[in-house]
């Protein structure tokens, strides 16, 4: 029993289709190739703690490095990262070693988790993209941590300036902040629509939008997203499910996975994923008299946290807020095998959700899983359990 899609006058959403086309062409999307052909530089970034605005202000097209969002053969990834680093890092390395990211002029990562830092180490050693940078990302939110991160972002900017042979002026940074904040605001609007009893957009469709946002110029993305919001406001399509679900856990950007949940009637209304909510949730706020770099560094450290951060309660509280705001009936935790930060947090998160009466379905997955038969069976049972509780 899939989510019910009502579609009275059969309007397709053309912009959604455009976003999907971008994703189909990934990694070599038309947008990336066009930027390159005009002599522009394209940089890869690895994790949401890497401040994209700095790259954007330097005229660089930032592209998020991921695997193919689906499960893939990981021969090289397994050989170089061994089988016990998460399949996300192995997928990225696999693509890198196969030359599928050969268009990158730079690779920027943060010391966010073991998988990310080792992927960066090996990327630097074996793939040799012209520019490499890794930022020390503190795991705390203290004033001292903010000072350190500010210095790290400054140093990253200086390294980039040295590589490019030109300065990145503050006006450019302010402009980039505006472009990215605009993007965040539009994505927030999109998410707001999902608070409805029967939202006009599904979870799987939302993920297509987000995936495209990592793979095209932000200005174009913003224009398209505005078009999509326009189309959605006029559309009479609605999605109604058996239960309202939230997906939490490791990096995941496969719309097929969400689709496999929604195909059974579990409507995914929100999430805590670094590829979705955690990507856009907080804007950069430039306080009076503050430098743009300072404002950027503050936002990236304070943003909706990854499980790497300590204390974890900051993340848990944000999840609990989303559960309330989006009227979530159940949480699906999908943790990639060997994604240790999330694995450690799971018992604690489960307790906190239990306190507010929200059940958790914990899935151990590989990066890119599209939801196998076994997963579907478990989702099915989970939905039945939620329905039984509602009665």
């Amino acid at each position: 029993m899939a989510i019910e899609v009502t579609q009275s006058n059969a309007v397709m959403l053309p912009t959604l289709e455009r976003f999907r086309q971008i994703n189909d062409a990934f990694p070599k999307t038309g947008e990336i190739l066009e930027h390159k052909s005009k002599g522009g530089k394209v940089f890869g970034w690895l994790c949401t703690y890497v401040p994209e605005e700095i790259l954007h202000a330097a005229g660089i097209l930032p592209v998020r490095v991921t695997g193919y969002s689906q499960e893939m053969e990981l021969e090289d990834g397994n050989a170089y990262l061994y089988i016990n680093n998460c399949s996300f890092s192995r997928s990225c390395l696999q693509m890198g070693l196969r030359g599928e990211y050969e268009f990158l002029d730079g690779m920027v990562a943060g010391s966010t988790c073991d998988g990310a830092r080792r992927l960066f180490d090996l990327w630097q050693y074996y793939i040799k993209t012209p520019f490499h940078h890794i930022l020390t990302v503190p795991r705390k939110y203290t004033g001292k941590a903010h000072d350190l991160y500010y210095q790290q972002v400054t140093q990253f900017k200086e390294h980039l300036e040295e590589f490019l042979g030109r300065k990145i002026p503050d006006e450019q940074l302010i402009n980039s902040i505006e472009v990215f904040n605009r993007s965040r605001a539009l994505l927030k609007q999109l998410y707001e629509l999902r608070k409805a009893d029967a939202p006009p957009i599904s979870g799987a469709e939302t993920m297509e939008v987000l995936n495209a946002s990592f793979r095209m110029p932000k200005e174009t993305f913003n224009r398209w997203l505005k078009d999509l919001l326009e189309e959605l406001s006029k559309s009479s399509i609605t999605h109604k499910g058996r239960a309202r679900l939230m997906v939490v856990g490791s990096v995941m950007n496969n719309p097929e996975f969400i689709n496999s949940i929604e195909a059974q009637g579990g409507l995914v209304v929100t999430d805590e994923l670094c590829t979705s909510t955690r990507y856009w949730s907080d804007p950069v706020v430039v306080e009076k008299g503050e430098s743009p770099v300072k404002a950027i560094s503050k936002r990236y450290l304070n943003n909706f946290p990854c499980a790497r951060m300590v204390p974890s309660d900051e993340r848990f509280n944000r999840i609990l807020n989303l559960v309330k705001e989006f009227r979530v009936d159940g949480v699906i935790s999908q943790i990639i095998r060997y994604c240790v930060p999330y694995a450690h947090d799971l018992p604690l998160l489960r307790d906190r959700l239990k306190e507010v009466g929200v059940p958790v379905l914990a899935l151990d997955v590989e990066y890119g899983t599209s939801g196998s038969g076994q997963i579907q069976t478990r989702v099915q049972a989970f939905l039945e359990m939620i329905e039984a509780r509602k009665r």
Partner: protein, 422 residues
């Protein structure tokens, strides 16, 4: 009643080490350092066992933690990984501890030593700490271990954040972290930092690092005087007793014994046929087996670049806190297990192979240690370039159900055959 059982578990370590100490003392052929090592263990765990009765504050902490600070504040440290697994080994309770961890909801992909910590606490096998301290040196597991343990023990905690790279700002940040931790501990324990005491500990720690380096130098000799089983003892010494008189006493005796053997051209195995580099740590419960197979085949581990190769540099007792921070950056594990894997760290590995006249290397690929396994291929590539073959053995370092002795023997014998054929 509950506290009685807790006591008896730690008591198992004390009884076992006291027994080994006495056996060593009674055996005239046994080197003096062996008894001293077990004396050190006995004293560390006796302190822990009696801490609460004596009204002392216990701080549990994860591996690679600057416990010098705890000693200087008269706080009793409890090294969680070492304590859990030493106890498990002596009592044969590995399985119980790991299943307790699983019951808490910790998945098998979490490194087994850390899965066991929370398990051991929830079983009440370890004394209840008054505070939990943990850090991201060395990995995501250490970084994420603390909060669940705090919750189980209903105790406060402090997370010590190690910056990933080295720079003036990052060093300053870490110093600030140490200061904040001292404030936290002063508040929770009601005890003040004794700076003079810290300064003395730093002075001894400086000497201790010299001793580690001297021992490392002596192991360059052919034949190497240092037995295979000594590796874990060296680690434990710094894990439990950094800058403590018992550690110095043990290491000085050990150094003198090794120097004597070098003068007499005596090796730990005779004849010495193959000199090995050990990468990562062999399964703890196989140390006896490794000693045996080493004797059988004339094989000796001469260097463990990830764990026993200390960086050059001195500590300054007049700047005790800065020195504690500096030491944290000088520990061998900091070179290639944490921080960016730069050219320097890679070159050092190759240098190691040459300086120690290594015939082959064994990489213990511990499935729980993701970040070290990520270097298996890279290190193999580098060592193969200088004609050092590498044997990789997938293993678990604390769970004896994963590997059998027979299986590891087969792999090692095959490797010795390969070395022989060359």
């Amino acid at each position: 009643m509950v506290s009685e059982t807790k006591k008896s578990k730690i008591d198992a370590i004390i009884r076992a080490s006291r027994l080994i100490m006495r056996m060593n003392q009674a055996n005239p052929a046994s080197p003096k350092s062996e008894a001293l090592y077990y004396k050190m263990l006995t004293s560390y765990y006796t302190c822990l066992l009696n801490a609460h009765d004596e009204g002392k504050f216990i701080a549990a902490h994860t591996v690679f933690f600057p416990s010098e600070i705890l000693y200087a504040m008269d706080i009793v440290p409890m090294h969680t990984e070492t304590t859990t697994w030493m106890m498990a080994l002596f009592l044969g309770e590995q399985a119980e501890i790991l299943s307790a961890g699983a019951e808490l909801g910790l998945v098998p992909e979490i490194c087994s030593p850390h899965r066991g910590l929370a398990g051991a606490f929830s079983l009440g096998a370890l004394p209840r700490p008054d505070a939990m301290l943990w850090s991201n040196l060395i990995c995501d597991n250490t970084a994420k271990s603390g909060e669940l343990i705090m919750e189980i023990n209903k105790c406060p905690g402090f997370y010590l954040d190690h910056p990933f790279q080295r720079s003036e700002t990052e060093d300053k940040y870490f110093l600030g972290e140490l200061e904040d931790m001292i404030c936290f501990l002063e508040e929770k324990s009601g005890q003040k930092m004794d700076w003079d005491k810290l300064s003395k500990i730093v002075q001894r720690m400086d000497h201790q690092m010299e001793l580690f380096r001297e021992i490392g130098e002596l192991r360059k000799t052919v034949p190497s005087p240092f037995p295979n089983r000594g590796f874990l003892q060296l680690l434990t010494t710094d894990y439990l007793c950094p800058g403590q008189p018992e550690a110095i006493e043990y290491l000085e005796a050990l150094r003198d014994e090794l120097a004597e053997m070098v003068r007499e051209r005596k090796g730990a195995v005779s004849p010495e046929r193959f000199r090995l580099m050990t990468l990562f740590v062999p399964p703890m419960y196989l140390m006896g087996f490794l000693e045996k197979i080493g004797q059988e085949y004339g094989v000796v581990s001469v260097v463990e670049p990830l764990f026993t190769r200390w960086a050059e540099g001195r500590l300054d007792p007049s700047q005790p806190l800065e020195s504690v921070a500096r030491k944290a950056a000088m520990i061998p594990e900091r070179r290639s297990m944490y921080g960016p894997l730069g050219q320097e760290a890679l070159q050092d590995l190759v240098d190691c192979a040459e300086q120690y006249k290594v015939d082959g290397a064994v990489y213990w690929a511990f499935m729980g240690c993701r970040h070290t396994c990520a270097t298996v291929k890279l290190f193999k590539d580098l060592l193969n370039e200088v004609d050092v073959p590498v044997l990789t053995i997938d293993c678990d370092i604390v769970d004896p159900t994963i590997n059998s002795e027979a299986e590891i023997r087969e792999k090692m014998e095959q490797f010795f055959e390969l070395l022989e054929d060359r």
